[in-house]
Symmetry: C2
Subunit: 212 residues, 2 copies
DNA sequence: TAGATTGTTAATCGATTAACAATC
DNA sequence: TAGATTGTTAATCGATTAACAATC
C-alpha cells in the first residue's frame, strides 16, 4: 500500500538485480512481467520480489503483473539512477586503469570524470581518455563537476587517507578496492570489493587438493 | 567443544577477516589476542568472533585469549589456504590484465598460472608475466597444473560458456566479474564481483543531487 | 584466589517464506 | 465470471546477541 521507507539491505541489493532483469526484458520487447516471470529470470522467488517492491510502493496490476517500462522508470528513480552520477577514481595503478577502461562504469547514468594519483611521475600522463591529476586537485574537481562517487584503487597504505580526503571534499559514496575495512566518515556510504577475501572464501568451499 | 561442520556463510566470510587481522597482529609482534581485541581491530563483536570460531573447534584459552600464530595456522587449514592454490584468468581484457598485475592474487597461497582468451589476435601476446593462451588449452593446463580457481573477466556474452568450460575442465571454484548471475554446474562454487551493482547500490544510499 | 576470558545455551532480532484476501 | 496475480499479514527460519557457567 504505502511506500515504507526502511528497506533491508538485502532488498536494496536485489533492486539492482531486478533492474537489470527488467532492462533485458525491455530489450527483448517484453512489455509485462509477473513476479513469477522475474523469478524465472533472476532466481529470486516471486514472493520475495513482491515483498521487496512493496517497500517502495504498489507497482503491479493484479492478474497481469508489472509493466516493464514503468517499473524500470520507478526503480531508476528509487535508486537515484535517473540523473547522471559522476565518479572519480583515485589510484592510477592496474586496477584504476582497468576500471577507467571498463564500459559498465562509463554507461549511463555513470560518468567517469577524472583519475587521480599522488605519484609525481604519473601526474599529467594519459590513462585511457584521461590525464592523471594530482590528488590535491580532488576537492576542486568534486566541487565544479558535482562528483557523487569516489572509487579507491590505491594501495592498502593510502586507502583510509584517500577516503578521508573524499569525504572532506563532499563525496558521499565510496567504492573501495583496497583490502581494508575503511572507517567511514558520517554520512558517507562505503562498499568494499575485496578480491583476496573472495578468493579465500572460494578456497573454503573447495575440497582439498582434488586436482593433484 | 566439538567442531560442528555447517558454518553459516556470513561466518565463512568473517573467517577471512579474522585471518587478515591476525596476520597483521603477528607482523606487529603480538602473540596473544582476545576476542575483545579482535573486535577492536575488525569491528566484529567479540561474541560473534567466539561463536564463529566455535563452529570449527576450541582454539582459545580461558582468561588469556587466542594464540595468534596458532590461530593463523588453524584458520589457514580450515580455509584450505595451507597449500598452493593455482588460479587461471579467462578474458585478457582490461580487467583480466589488471588482475594479472594485482599483487593480492599472486601472493601465497595463490599462484596465478595462466591467462586465456578466445580472440586470435591476442593469442601468444605477452600480458604481464604471461603469454595469452587460447581457451582451448584450458583443460590441458587445468589438468597438468592442478588448477583450483577460475577467474572470469570476459564479456557478459561469453561468461556462462566459459564457466561451463571451466567446470568441465575440473575447476571447482569460480570468481566471476561479468555482470550476470552464472548458472553453476553442481559442485562448483561461484562468487560474483558485480561492479555495476555496487555502484547502483551506492547511488541508492546517496541523497539526490547534493553536490549540484 | 580473583580477574579475565572462553565456549555454549537461551533469547532476540531480522529476513524469508507461506497463506490468503483483494482485485484486475 | 473465472483465472491470474498482486500486496500484506502471520509463521518460519536463521543469524546475532545476551547471559552465564566453566576454566585458565
Amino acid at each position: 500500500m504505502m511506500p515504507m521507507s526502511r528497506a533491508p539491505e538485502p532488498t536494496v541489493l536485489r533492486l539492482s538485480i531486478y533492474l537489470r532483469c527488467l532492462r533485458k526484458a525491455q530489450e527483448e520487447g517484453i512489455s509485462t512481467l509477473s513476479s513469477a516471470g522475474i523469478e524465472r529470470r533472476t532466481g529470486v522467488s516471486a514472493v520475495q520480489v513482491r515483498k521487496d517492491l512493496s517497500y517502495f510502493g504498489d507497482f503491479g496490476t493484479s492478474g497481469r503483473g508489472y509493466d516493464v517500462a514503468g517499473l524500470v522508470e520507478r526503480l531508476r528513480h528509487i535508486m537515484h539512477l535517473d540523473e547522471p552520477r559522476k565518479a572519480v577514481i583515485v589510484g592510477a595503478g592496474n586496477m584504476g586503469s582497468a576500471l577507467a577502461g571498463y564500459q559498465g562504469i562509463k554507461r549511463a547514468p555513470f560518468i567517469l570524470t577524472a583519475i587521480f594519483d599522488n605519484d609525481p611521475a604519473k601526474i599529467g600522463r594519459r590513462l585511457r581518455d584521461f590525464h592523471i591529476q594530482h590528488i590535491d586537485a580532488l576537492p576542486e574537481v568534486v566541487h565544479t563537476e558535482c562528483v557523487d562517487l569516489g572509487i579507491i584503487t590505491t594501495s592498502l597504505a593510502s586507502a583510509q587517507e584517500v577516503a578521508d580526503h573524499m569525504a572532506k571534499a563532499g563525496i558521499r559514496a565510496i567504492l573501495n578496492f583496497a583490502p581494508v575495512r575503511l572507517i567511514a566518515s558520517s554520512g558517507v556510504a562505503i562498499r568494499n570489493v575485496d578480491l583476496v577475501k573472495e578468493l579465500e572464501v572460494l578456497c573454503f568451499y573447495l575440497p582439498e587438493s582434488i586436482n593433484c
